[in-house]
Protein backbone atom coordinates (compact mmCIF):
# COMPACT_ATOMS: atom_id res chain seq x y z
CA UNK A 1 0.00 0.00 0.00
CA UNK A 2 2.73 2.45 0.91
CA UNK A 3 4.64 4.38 -1.73
CA UNK A 4 8.34 4.20 -0.73
CA UNK A 5 10.94 6.12 -2.71
CA UNK A 6 14.66 6.55 -2.06
CA UNK A 7 16.31 8.75 -4.65
CA UNK A 8 19.16 11.16 -5.24
CA UNK A 9 17.06 13.37 -7.54
CA UNK A 10 15.30 16.44 -6.11
CA UNK A 11 11.55 16.16 -5.66
CA UNK A 12 8.83 18.78 -5.83
CA UNK A 13 7.11 18.85 -2.44
CA UNK A 14 4.07 20.76 -3.70
CA UNK A 15 3.55 18.43 -6.64
CA UNK A 16 3.92 15.39 -4.40
CA UNK A 17 1.36 16.83 -1.97
CA UNK A 18 -1.07 17.50 -4.83
CA UNK A 19 -0.61 14.03 -6.35
CA UNK A 20 -0.96 12.30 -2.98
CA UNK A 21 -4.12 14.22 -2.05
CA UNK A 22 -5.54 13.56 -5.52
CA UNK A 23 -4.79 9.84 -5.32
CA UNK A 24 -6.41 9.60 -1.88
CA UNK A 25 -9.24 12.08 -2.28
CA UNK A 26 -11.72 9.49 -0.99
CA UNK A 27 -10.08 9.97 2.40
CA UNK A 28 -11.09 12.96 4.47
CA UNK A 29 -7.71 13.78 5.97
CA UNK A 30 -4.25 14.24 4.48
CA UNK A 31 -1.15 15.02 6.55
CA UNK A 32 2.25 15.74 5.04
CA UNK A 33 5.64 16.43 6.55
CA UNK A 34 8.60 17.90 4.69
CA UNK A 35 12.15 18.10 6.03
CA UNK A 36 14.25 20.90 4.58
CA UNK A 37 18.03 21.48 4.74
CA UNK A 38 18.57 24.37 7.16
CA UNK A 39 21.29 26.67 5.92
CA UNK A 40 22.28 27.80 9.38
CA UNK A 41 25.76 28.15 10.88
CA UNK A 42 27.26 28.63 7.45
CA UNK A 43 26.17 25.25 6.11
CA UNK A 44 27.24 24.97 2.48
CA UNK A 45 26.04 21.50 1.59
CA UNK A 46 24.87 18.19 2.99
CA UNK A 47 25.73 14.66 1.89
CA UNK A 48 23.30 11.92 2.81
CA UNK A 49 24.64 8.38 2.83
CA UNK A 50 22.34 5.40 3.08
CA UNK A 51 22.37 1.61 3.03
CA UNK A 52 20.77 0.53 -0.26
CA UNK A 53 18.48 -2.41 0.24
CA UNK A 54 18.17 -2.05 3.99
CA UNK A 55 16.84 1.50 3.57
CA UNK A 56 13.86 0.46 1.44
CA UNK A 57 13.27 -2.52 3.73
CA UNK A 58 13.27 -0.30 6.84
CA UNK A 59 10.95 2.27 5.27
CA UNK A 60 8.49 -0.39 4.12
CA UNK A 61 8.51 -1.84 7.61
CA UNK A 62 7.88 1.57 9.21
CA UNK A 63 4.96 2.23 6.85
CA UNK A 64 3.54 -1.26 7.47
CA UNK A 65 3.78 -0.75 11.22
CA UNK A 66 1.92 2.58 10.88
CA UNK A 67 -0.78 0.90 8.77
CA UNK A 68 -1.15 -1.81 11.43
CA UNK A 69 -1.57 0.75 14.22
CA UNK A 70 -3.86 3.26 12.55
CA UNK A 71 -6.61 3.15 9.97
CA UNK A 72 -4.89 4.54 6.86
CA UNK A 73 -5.99 4.91 3.26
CA UNK A 74 -2.43 5.41 2.04
CA UNK A 75 1.10 6.43 2.99
CA UNK A 76 4.16 7.85 1.27
CA UNK A 77 7.78 8.03 2.38
CA UNK A 78 10.21 9.74 0.04
CA UNK A 79 13.83 10.32 1.10
CA UNK A 80 16.75 11.72 -0.84
CA UNK A 81 20.37 10.69 -0.58
CA UNK A 82 23.52 12.21 -2.04
CA UNK A 83 24.27 15.90 -2.36
CA UNK A 84 21.86 18.55 -1.05
CA UNK A 85 22.10 22.28 -0.58
CA UNK A 86 20.40 24.59 1.95
CA UNK A 87 16.66 25.09 1.56
CA UNK A 88 16.24 21.95 -0.52
CA UNK A 89 13.68 19.38 0.65
CA UNK A 90 15.42 16.33 2.12
CA UNK A 91 12.43 14.07 2.53
CA UNK A 92 8.72 13.93 3.05
CA UNK A 93 6.07 11.66 4.44
CA UNK A 94 2.35 11.77 3.71
CA UNK A 95 -0.60 9.91 5.19
CA UNK A 96 -4.26 9.66 4.18
CA UNK A 97 -7.03 8.56 6.51
CA UNK A 98 -10.73 8.91 7.12
CA UNK A 99 -10.05 10.70 10.37
CA UNK A 100 -7.45 13.33 11.10
CA UNK A 101 -6.25 11.74 14.34
CA UNK A 102 -5.07 8.67 12.42
CA UNK A 103 -3.41 10.74 9.70
CA UNK A 104 -1.55 12.91 12.25
CA UNK A 105 -0.45 10.04 14.51
CA UNK A 106 0.75 7.88 11.63
CA UNK A 107 2.79 10.69 10.04
CA UNK A 108 4.31 11.64 13.40
CA UNK A 109 5.11 7.97 14.14
CA UNK A 110 6.71 7.38 10.74
CA UNK A 111 8.91 10.46 11.19
CA UNK A 112 10.06 9.32 14.64
CA UNK A 113 10.99 5.86 13.40
CA UNK A 114 12.52 7.11 10.19
CA UNK A 115 14.78 9.47 12.19
CA UNK A 116 16.49 6.78 14.21
CA UNK A 117 15.63 3.44 12.59
CA UNK A 118 16.18 4.01 8.88
CA UNK A 119 19.81 3.79 7.74
CA UNK A 120 20.56 7.35 6.64
CA UNK A 121 23.52 9.42 7.80
CA UNK A 122 23.98 13.11 7.22
CA UNK A 123 27.29 14.85 6.75
CA UNK A 124 27.46 18.62 6.79
CA UNK A 125 29.94 20.71 4.90
CA UNK A 126 31.02 24.17 6.06
CA UNK A 127 33.95 26.42 5.29
CA UNK A 128 35.51 24.98 8.45
CA UNK A 129 35.28 21.40 7.16
CA UNK A 130 33.01 18.38 7.07
CA UNK A 131 31.32 16.65 9.99
CA UNK A 132 28.83 13.85 10.50
CA UNK A 133 25.62 14.91 12.17
CA UNK A 134 25.38 13.36 15.63
CA UNK A 135 22.20 11.51 16.59
CA UNK A 136 20.13 13.48 19.06
CA UNK A 137 19.12 11.84 22.32
CA UNK A 138 15.70 13.48 21.95
CA UNK A 139 15.13 11.55 18.70
CA UNK A 140 15.83 8.23 20.42
CA UNK A 141 13.59 9.19 23.33
CA UNK A 142 10.77 10.10 20.94
CA UNK A 143 10.31 6.41 20.13
CA UNK A 144 9.10 5.70 23.65
CA UNK A 145 5.96 7.71 22.85
CA UNK A 146 4.62 4.90 20.66
Amino acid sequence: MADIRVQSEPFDYGQECAAFAQAHSDNGAIVTFCGIVRGEDGLQAMEIEHYPGMTERALHRIAAEAAARWSLGGALILHRHGHLTPEEPIMMVATAARHRADAFAAADFMMDYLKSRAPFWKKERRASGESWVAAREVDEQALSRW
Binding site: G35, I48, E49, H50, Y51, G53, M54, R57, A58, H79, I90, M91, M111, L114, K115, S116, R117, A118, P119, F120, W121, K122, K123, W132, V133, A134, A135, E140
Partner: protein
Protein backbone atom coordinates in the same frame (compact mmCIF):
# COMPACT_ATOMS: atom_id res chain seq x y z
CA UNK B 1 31.43 -19.03 7.60
CA UNK B 2 31.94 -16.36 4.97
CA UNK B 3 30.27 -12.98 5.55
CA UNK B 4 30.29 -9.60 3.88
CA UNK B 5 30.97 -6.76 6.31
CA UNK B 6 29.67 -3.29 5.40
CA UNK B 7 30.68 0.04 6.95
CA UNK B 8 28.81 3.32 6.69
CA UNK B 9 29.37 6.99 7.53
CA UNK B 10 32.32 7.68 9.84
CA UNK B 11 32.95 3.97 10.36
CA UNK B 12 33.54 3.62 6.64
CA UNK B 13 35.83 6.65 6.66
CA UNK B 14 37.83 5.57 9.73
CA UNK B 15 38.33 2.04 8.52
CA UNK B 16 38.95 3.20 4.96
CA UNK B 17 36.70 0.51 3.49
CA UNK B 18 33.04 0.40 2.46
CA UNK B 19 32.96 -3.40 2.66
CA UNK B 20 35.14 -6.45 3.09
CA UNK B 21 34.77 -10.22 2.95
CA UNK B 22 35.57 -12.21 6.05
CA UNK B 23 35.89 -15.85 7.01
CA UNK B 24 34.81 -16.16 10.63
CA UNK B 25 33.67 -18.58 13.29
CA UNK B 26 32.30 -15.83 15.51
CA UNK B 27 28.95 -16.78 17.02
CA UNK B 28 27.82 -13.28 17.98
CA UNK B 29 28.29 -9.70 16.81
CA UNK B 30 30.46 -9.03 19.84
CA UNK B 31 32.80 -11.91 18.94
CA UNK B 32 32.92 -10.67 15.35
CA UNK B 33 33.84 -7.17 16.52
CA UNK B 34 36.66 -8.73 18.57
CA UNK B 35 38.03 -10.28 15.38
CA UNK B 36 37.57 -7.13 13.32
CA UNK B 37 39.53 -5.08 15.86
CA UNK B 38 42.60 -7.21 15.18
CA UNK B 39 42.56 -6.59 11.43
CA UNK B 40 44.24 -3.17 11.51
CA UNK B 41 44.87 -0.16 13.72
CA UNK B 42 42.11 1.62 11.81
CA UNK B 43 39.66 -1.17 12.66
CA UNK B 44 40.74 -1.07 16.30
CA UNK B 45 40.23 2.68 16.45
CA UNK B 46 36.87 2.58 14.65
CA UNK B 47 35.54 -0.07 17.01
CA UNK B 48 36.98 1.50 20.18
CA UNK B 49 33.61 2.78 21.45
CA UNK B 50 30.89 0.21 20.91
CA UNK B 51 28.24 2.48 22.45
CA UNK B 52 28.57 4.67 19.33
CA UNK B 53 28.01 1.77 16.94
CA UNK B 54 24.88 0.11 15.58
CA UNK B 55 24.70 -3.16 13.72
CA UNK B 56 22.40 -4.75 11.14
CA UNK B 57 22.39 -8.48 10.39
CA UNK B 58 21.14 -9.22 6.89
CA UNK B 59 19.62 -5.72 6.76
CA UNK B 60 17.76 -5.94 10.08
CA UNK B 61 18.85 -3.92 13.10
CA UNK B 62 20.26 -6.19 15.82
CA UNK B 63 21.86 -6.05 19.24
CA UNK B 64 25.58 -6.45 19.74
CA UNK B 65 25.08 -9.76 21.52
CA UNK B 66 22.87 -11.12 18.72
CA UNK B 67 23.87 -14.46 17.16
CA UNK B 68 25.25 -14.22 13.63
CA UNK B 69 25.16 -17.87 12.64
CA UNK B 70 24.05 -18.14 9.02
CA UNK B 71 24.28 -14.40 8.40
CA UNK B 72 25.54 -13.31 5.00
CA UNK B 73 25.75 -9.52 5.42
CA UNK B 74 26.64 -7.68 8.59
CA UNK B 75 26.73 -3.88 8.60
CA UNK B 76 28.24 -1.52 11.15
CA UNK B 77 27.37 2.16 11.33
CA UNK B 78 26.80 5.07 13.71
CA UNK B 79 23.33 5.94 15.08
CA UNK B 80 21.10 6.90 12.17
CA UNK B 81 20.31 10.53 11.37
CA UNK B 82 17.74 10.54 8.61
CA UNK B 83 14.64 12.66 8.26
Amino acid sequence: MRVTILYFAWLRERIGLAHEQLETDAATVTELVGELRTRSDRHALAFSDLAAIRVAIDQDLADLDAPITGAREIAFFPPMTGG
